[in-house]
Amino acid sequence: MYAENIMDHFNSPRNSGEVKDPDIKHKEFNPFCGDQIELTVKLRNGKEIQEIKFQGKGCSISQASASMLTEIVKNKNIEEVKKLTKEDILDLLNIPIGPVRMKCALLALDTLQNGIKIYEQYTKKK
């Protein structure tokens, strides 16, 4: 619990802030504890994550996992990102997460994947 890497990401979050003219901008929150994550993403060719930043508040798990997630998805194809699972996030965090804090741990991934879904629906419509 509270391994060095989590405290490190929490205290010095990577990719904090907002991307300019984002293709994807999506915010989710975890009503039980008030964690919030807003992701802004710039795509390359509508397919690859060129730039990603997050803003948020909440507990160390939700914020550290957001910081870690932004690091690993950069330059990834969104098809790959859509396939990321709970297990991938837990591997990143590398500490045991109980069912209650799972919501915190997965908030960033949910935000990203739902943001992609909305983006795809929106672009398909057009």
Binding site: P31, G98, V100, R101
Partner: protein
Amino acid sequence: MLIDEIRNDFPILKRKVNGKPLVYLDNAATSQKPKQVIDAIKNFYETQNANIHRGIHQLSEESTEAFERSREKVAKFISAKPEQIIFTKNTTESINTIAYGYGLKNIKKGDEILTTVMEHHSNFLPWQLVKKHTGATLKIADITDDGLLKMNHLEKLATKKTKLVAVTQVSNVLGTINPVKEISEIAQKNNSLFLVDGAQAAPHMPVDVKKTGCDFYAFSSHKMLGPTGIGVLYIKDPDKVDPFLVGGGTIKEVYTDKEAVWHDSPWKFEGGTPDVSGVIGFGATVDYLNKIGMEKIRKHEEEITKYALDKLLKIKNITIYGPMDHRLRGAVIAFNIGGIHPHDVAAILDSEGIAVRPGHACCKPLMSRLDILAMCRASFYIYNTKNEADVLVSGLEKVNKIFKR
């Protein structure tokens, strides 16, 4: 599993009543509990007890996990999804949840609710309440003289105005097993929602809400080897129903100056601290029932019902209600003997250690239909034996003798 092994799991079956071995035939009122269930509750309180959901500490995480695992087991037990399973305190609360949360909102003057004359008060009074508050019409399908639902009557009463059809799957007096699949088709044809009172079905036979095609299904843990204080409400489409008991746990957001944002199902329906120990005990109950197998339970009860019906029919002055074909009924046998009051019958049986239930069984409309005030009801479960049916028969012969009939 042999019946002796099963009986061995139920501590109370070792009890004597009035010096005689207990012959428990009041299962339609409530069932006995195996030690696996009693121990699950005890163990929860001794090692895990905590409030669920909003906790971060170890006990709360363990409790939450065990609680939600129970929900998954119950969902699987009736072929539903966890988010369609709401824990209440009993069948009565389950049905009221629909009456208030769906009925009062969606049923209007001019609309109709369709039910039957064999319903338990818990599946009758809620609809009278909706009728009273909305001005809707309550239509009541009749039974045949041998206690079967008059399907052509029900079909005639069902119209495009019927917003809801509410029928018991098994009658707690007649034992009649109603053709819920057929009724579901009638309901669908009219675009009516269909509520099944499964209080007497879920304990005794396999239930599949998808195959049944119902919108709501209600039953009680205490009648199926599980703890008291736990009911289940299956809702096919939880968005159709408003939160009913509102309070802690039912919301995402609360404001002082505007309406609350409700949580998702099932949480929006589970206001306040649930009966955590009961739900966990009920999870252990579902495990126990699955270990025996619902098909096997039904088969055992069919056999014992056939055996008991055959023997009981030979008793002098007896009137047995409901269909005589054991394949059409559950293991509930209601009867009267001559002009002897059911209380007297039950009291004499009690002096022989036999527990049966006298009275109206919360079915006053059915009592009126049968033109009786009360009856005696013997009801069997997986732990009852043919030998116990014999003890019942001897007890009833003694009743006749005492009353000089």
